[in-house]
């Protein structure tokens, strides 16, 4: 009798398995294109439930989401000026400083734009006032002044030189010498800056203080030209090249008939 019951159960289970599988496949397909699920860890921070996804190497948060509540709610948001909105980053960093592991004074505004009633605000992280290459902290603010989540690429424990041993002109010459046919191509220096350049290794990060140069051949300046440029980073301590990369052109559309080449300060640098 018991054996019969057992076989009946097995029969029943084997009948419903294909249906269950189909349901599972259907449910998983719904995930495509849907909102990002809370991935990574969840933790309670000052009584607030948060979802955090961390950078595997630095352990700094890449994403923080409020699960039951927003990260920040701005009072009288509709009355805030653009300038006040650009000050929301330091507020956010102050509130979540132990998680973000950087201070509010380390932010430098990258951009703030309002698109369809939503503000999009982003910053670079700085080290001793110098921008860290590819670092970011940004978020959107909805029309009610709510910040629900943030995205970040932060470097919590930067150890980098604070002065340069190689002078600028020397570094520029080294940078120019990296480009084959620099003179023939009539290359122009379109952007330059001192940056902290983090190079990720297996279990650590090397931080270089670099002279960052963006060079473009004269021909590339026309938006219709398919010619690109180069990013060259020279170590301020040794004068050695630490990055050489072909650059795609960032392009605003379209080309007006009275187009004139942009001035260097109008070009968007790669950092």
């Amino acid at each position: 009798m018991a054996l019969q019951k057992f076989f009946q159960r097995v029969k029943f289970i084997s009948k419903i398995i294909p249906t269950l599988l189909a349901v599972l496949i259907f449910l998983s397909s719904l995930g495509i294109g849907g909102p990002e699920k809370p991935d990574g860890e969840t933790l309670r921070y000052k009584g607030q439930l948060l979802s955090i996804r961390r950078d595997p190497l630095t352990r700094a948060p890449l994403i923080i989401r409020g699960i039951e509540s927003n990260l920040l709610e701005l009072k009288n948001f509709s009355k805030l000026s653009r300038k006040e909105i650009t000050h929301t980053g330091p507020l956010l960093v102050s509130k979540y400083q132990p998680l973000l592991q950087i201070g509010p004074d380390q932010l430098k505004l990258k951009g703030a734009e309002k698109i369809s009633d939503t503000w999009y605000v982003s910053y670079w992280q700085t080290f001793q006032g110098v921008i860290i290459y590819e670092s970011s902290l940004g978020y959107s603010i909805d029309l009610r002044g709510r910040i629900k989540s943030l995205g970040a690429l932060l470097f919590p424990h930067v150890q980098a030189p604070v002065t340069s041993k190689v002078n600028h002109d020397e570094a520029l010459k080294i940078g120019q010498s990296q480009i084959k046919d620099f003179k023939k191509l009539k290359c122009i220096l379109l952007a330059e800056s001192i940056l902290i350049y983090p190079v990720k290794k297996k279990s650590s990060i090397d931080y270089y203080r670099v002279y960052a140069f963006n060079f473009f051949p004269q021909e590339a300046l026309h938006p219709a030209s398919v010619v690109g440029g180069w990013a060259v980073f020279i170590d301020t301590q040794t004068g050695k090249r630490v990055l050489y990369e072909e650059l795609l052109k960032p392009l605003g559309c379209c080309i007006p008939e009275d187009w004139v080449p942009p001035k260097p300060e109008e070009m968007k640098p790669k950092w």
């Binding site: 294109g33 995205g151 219709a224």
Partner: protein
Amino acid sequence: MVCACKEKTEKSSLPKLGTAAIDFNFQDLRGQTWSLDKVRGKVVLLRFWADWCPYCRYEMPVIDKYYRKLNKEGFLVLAVNVKQSAEVALAFTAQLDITFPVPLDPDGKIARRYGVYAIPTNFLIDRQGVIREILIGEVFREEAVLRDLLKDYFKFERRGEEK
């Protein structure tokens, strides 16, 4: 329509309008593998971008708005990040609350195959896998441009709303 660089595009190796989109396999930020052949039947906006390009940044919310609206009707956005790390791309998509798939092209191989020389560059691929539009440079900050582009493929009831 090839926007921006009509006169000189013949110099680049951009694919020609009306030809089949080049297939490729890639992984997105969620680890999902995509292939253009596998999404045949959908209208695909294949987009190349990087986070340091400000023109790329502020188009994203507009594109995402239409992706959320039309995804169930077969509109797919594949926004290929060019030559950056997964962490950079992930932080960026979280900042803008983007929901569409973001494939990674860390060495720029896919961008080269598509002849991309400036960012953003967008390719609109129809349900048969044929390239119908190439748009170079920032064009979608004005929502109407994207809406007009999609109106041949999706029904819109009123301005900004799909049927």
